[in-house]
Symmetry: C2
Subunit: 280 residues, 2 copies
């Protein structure tokens, strides 16, 4: 009996938001070694030109390949939208982004329902989700929600701290404003599938569900992180053994912030984060 | 009678926040030509290393000098905190940052009162305001307020739109949370001077005053933008003529966003914004 080779899965994001994708991968594919790279020195990718983003993303992808990655996950919506093809062309290993799996999961949930996509301004501007959803025959409305990432990074979410309730109330009110606007912008037929098009947003899922209930507008919530993890699992041979996954973490700057906030995104404490230099 | 040479004042920021400094300069020094540069392709400077920020800022400063600037204003707290000395060493013209004028204005307002500084996470981490205030004999508490810049950039402030009241309420609640925490962190003797240590914050001044009234904690608000404009005026010979200032605007990316949001920061419509390339 031969032991199947344990895959090494590279996970790349401009920051630590992609840790929600890693969080979804770990229980689904436990028999793997993971290498996570957050290109924190050069984030956010959003405001930069396509050529610059592609160059940064390819450099990051090459680093993960050099570290032994046999499959690469682009756990970043902006990098997927603007650089997936460049990365696929540059590397001889399978490269999976977050947008196509998210769109396919929305289609699987309901092949005719209009989809509402919440994302950052940069992702909305790329219209990558609309393109992927339209190709599957789904109509889409995209809504840029620039306040959600800073609210998640500030940790204004339900937590153990007693004083957090006022902060959670702010986040709920912001979600109420964005979702009310987005539903109005979508018009009729009203969207009944909600696609979370940013790796920070899975942490907001309970608050989004609560807000939709308040608005009497129930929607099926599709989490790109979970959909991407399932797409990666479908790409690998099923394993009969259950092992404990191993992980290595790299960042290009702000290791302290990465470690502090990262454990929150990953849902478990982060081990040592290694600082690397990919150049200016 | 000779006509005095009209000064050309270069104003530099990583984005368009520095337009609040230009807004304060225009009425105070009308007999000048202004060149504004927003290094929007490489913002935010906050998460980057000191060496990288200094390199970016020196490149931007050199561009403004080449365009004819005879005096340079670093209208960016992060660049002032981390690169003022490098820029001063690189250029043969006077270079004025926003931090020293802000600290001096706080001292002038009350030479013994403890100061509360609101700023971005990057500016707080540099402790540049604490150093400048301590050198003047003032005790300081710095409070990082990461949600305020995105709230200002989203335009969640009192405006003409009828639906804006819920958005303004969010901004007021966020200010209430930050100011309550900051005053508690400052302890006793309680601060009575509030220094706005970010070029976005002058747009929040009416809401901050309202929040302080709600908290029954009146404070003297010092606006670094206004203080910096006065420091620049003090550096130039007084003019006896009143002319209309002229302005040219440059950005390294996102000209559309710059023009749209910039007019809001400047308090008047922006003319054409020229796109320039300072390299990666």
């Amino acid at each position: 009996m031969t032991t199947p080779t344990k895959p090494t899965i590279g996970v790349f994001d401009s920051g630590f938001g992609g840790l929600t994708v890693l969080r979804a991968l770990l229980p689904l594919i436990p028999n793997a070694h993971y290498i996570y790279l957050g290109d924190t020195a050069r984030l956010p990718y959003g405001a930069k030109s396509q050529a610059t983003i592609a160059r940064y993303a390819v450099e990051s992808a090459r680093f993960l390949h050099q570290q032994g990655a046999t499959l690469l996950v682009i756990a970043c919506n902006t990098a997927t939208a603007l650089a997936l093809e460049d990365i696929q062309a540059a590397l001889p290993i399978p490269v999976i982004g977050v947008i196509q799996p998210g769109a396919e999961a929305a289609h699987l949930a309901n092949p005719t329902a209009p989809v509402l996509v919440l994302a950052t301004a940069a992702t909305v501007q790329s219209h990558a989700y609309t393109q992927a959803l339209t190709a599957l025959g789904l109509s889409a409305t995209e809504k840029a929600c620039p306040l959600l990432v800073p609210l998640v990074e500030e940790g204004w979410l339900p937590g153990s701290a007693a004083e957090a309730s006022a902060k959670t109330a702010v986040t709920l009110e912001v979600l109420h404003i964005y979702l009310t606007e987005a539903i109005a912008e979508a018009g009729y037929p009203q969207p009944t599938t909600l696609l979370l098009g940013c790796t920070h947003y899975p942490l907001l899922k309970p608050l989004i569900e609560h807000t939709l209930a308040t608005l009497h507008h129930p929607m099926t919530i599709i989490d790109s992180a979970e959909a991407t993890a399932r797409a990666v699992a479908a790409h690998l041979p099923a394993s009969t053994t259950t092992e404990t996954p191993t992980c290595a973490f790299y960042a290009t700057d702000s290791v302290e912030k990465f470690q502090r906030l990262g454990s929150y995104f990953l849902g478990q404490p982060l081990p040592e984060v290694h600082l690397i230099d990919l150049g200016g």
